[in-house]
Symmetry: C2
Subunit: 354 residues, 2 copies
């Protein structure tokens, strides 16, 4: 049973009652496929914080639905009260994780609808907000599909692809970003072999990417992150595919910790390094990667989570940045729903989207 | 209680009865400090295979003692029978792990003693063999000390040092190779800060290196392997220190998987990359790193070991090379007990040792 077959829109959907958000709890995969029906303010926030829902596009979709579900619980009768309450919920959800820009951008889109419909009856405003959330979701499906199509231009039958973290259906909708090309290739009879970095500390590559690929029947091999250099040296890798959590205007990209290291290794070995990035993940307000805030997470994720026994003494300090920034000079191309964008990124991304 | 304080010679010693090898079971650290008293052929082999004893120099010392302990159990009365039995034990222990050359070199040294004493009474031969094993051990202590002294020339007060895997007292004797300089610096009042890569899959960096440093009161921070690029970029790292499992004549070095990636990142960021390598770890019979056999280990180490639940589906394939080879062009210097050796390595290593 693949995630695709159980949640055809991806790992997030609006509950059938329109008053809840339903997700696959990604923190439990691959050992358990558990659906959560979320309604409460704190549990919606916690789902993002604890990576029950994760992946920049999926977080955006989730937050859009979540803020609508919370709006539906309002007791306000005056617009101002309703809108103030909306803004508190928006700010609360937005504070859950700082790096992926989709979260803020999706919430801003719902905000724009709430503001534009000022004065209308509140149930009508909420319906318009929900329609916008569904639109964000459907746009993501279309963008993932288009990105995956463009990605096909970058591969040949038999290629080995190094993946990092998870940028598949769980992280997005349907095809995914970084993994979408692998799913589409399989549909077209093109054989690709994925080498999946496990992605410490939270193991999204091991737990989610190999799960998605294996269930889809795509040949994949799990490696530890520190094996990337060797598999590249051994000629197993023809291209690196990653997703993106926030792209700056100059093409610097924030993505899961470890991404910049892979890009440097790829450069060393002469292997192309591709970033799959829907426009919803581009933040033109960030001029360079230096403007992107990197989330720092708890030491327990490194030392304790998932393990039978702690892997270090309690008094040992940890440094646990969740993302790093890859310099645009290391990126062979950024693949968006509009096409394959190459350096100089400032000019070419602007020409594509502005 | 530091390992140093409980096992002043390192993590391996000949039992007081002369008929056993005593080790700290490194596979249980840091949660449990358990000593094993090993006598049996299979348990001695298994201790190496399962990394209860690990670290190239420690494996060599252990194997030297182990083959003596097994010799002491002989029922042979004729030299030829004794020596044939010795050779079977030697070959068996030598087959436990292929990459670290210290194993074979230590066994060869005991073999030379056994051969040179042909015709003498067997108990006398065994005593001579044991004396050679103790000599290997004592030489390692001296080499580690000398290497650590030379390492001090490469650091300045306040430096951040990136470490990988474990090359401290547990892996060697006393000071260690890659970590020795950190211990010595502390004795001399020089403050270094260690950034310790956890070293997947078996987590020697997390479990052993931070244990040794923390117990010694040396400032250290644990990171996941894929965070090396970011900490380098952030200016936290002034030098990378690693041990070595086998150095080829041209200065290519096999070390724990991930080492080559760190060397490439260090080159990218302009950070020196130093390999601490006693002459017992240099294999002049290997012309280049291509001649070094890389051990492949079981997928369970990646997917299951240490974890509460498997991190990937049972059917997911793993690739689990235990070492990689770092090209000599990426190595700033190789520090041996004779001094700091720089490129061209073929000439300079030969001049130092041949």
């Amino acid at each position: 049973m693949s995630i695709e077959s159980v949640t055809p829109m991806g790992s997030v959907r609006l509950g059938d009652d329109g008053a809840s958000v339903v997700i696959v709890d990604q923190s439990l995969l691959p050992n358990e496929i558990k659906y959560l029906v979320l309604r409460g303010r704190e549990e919606l926030y916690e789902a993002i914080l604890e990576l029950r829902v994760r992946g920049a596009p999926a977080i955006g979709i989730f937050a859009a639905y979540a803020v609508c579900v919370l709006a539906g619980q309002t007791k306000a009768s005056a617009y101002d009260d309703f809108y103030n309450e909306f803004n508190r919920n928006k700010a609360y959800l937005d504070s859950s994780r700082p790096t992926a820009v989709n979260l803020r951008k999706a919430l801003d889109r719902i905000d724009n609808i709430a503001a534009a419909n000022a004065g209308k009856p509140i149930p009508e405003i909420i319906d318009a907000m929900k329609a916008e959330a569904v639109k964000i979701h459907q746009e993501d499906i279309s963008m993932c599909r288009a990105i995956s199509e463009y990605g096909l231009e970058l591969v040949r039958d038999g290629d080995g692809i190094l993946t990092h973290c998870n940028a598949g259906p769980l992280a997005t909708s349907r095809y995914g970003t970084g993994l979408g090309t692998l799913f589409l290739a399989q549909e077209r009879g093109i054989t690709l072999h994925a080498w999946c970095g496990e992605t410490r500390p939270l193991l999204q590559g091991a737990r989610l990417t190999t799960f998605e690929l294996q269930k889809a029947g795509i040949d994949c091999t799990l490696i530890c992150d520190n094996m990337a250099s060797l598999v590249m040296k051994e000629g197993k890798i023809n291209a690196c595919f990653t997703g993106c959590d926030r792209a700056a205007a100059n093409g610097d990209i924030a993505n899961k910790i470890g991404t910049s290291g892979i890009a440097i290794l790829a450069r060393h070995y002469g292997i192309p390094f591709y970033v799959f990035c829907p426009s919803s993940t581009i933040d033109f307000a960030c001029k360079t990667g230096e403007d992107i805030k990197i989330e720092q997470r708890a030491p327990e994720e490194i030392k304790e989570k998932f393990f039978m026994r702690p892997i270090a003494l309690p008094e040992v300090k940890c440094y646990n940045p969740a993302f790093d920034v890859t310099d645009n000079s290391l990126i062979t191309a950024i693949i968006t729903e509009k096409g394959i964008c190459r350096s100089p990124y400032t000019e070419n991304l602007a020409a594509m989207f502005k």
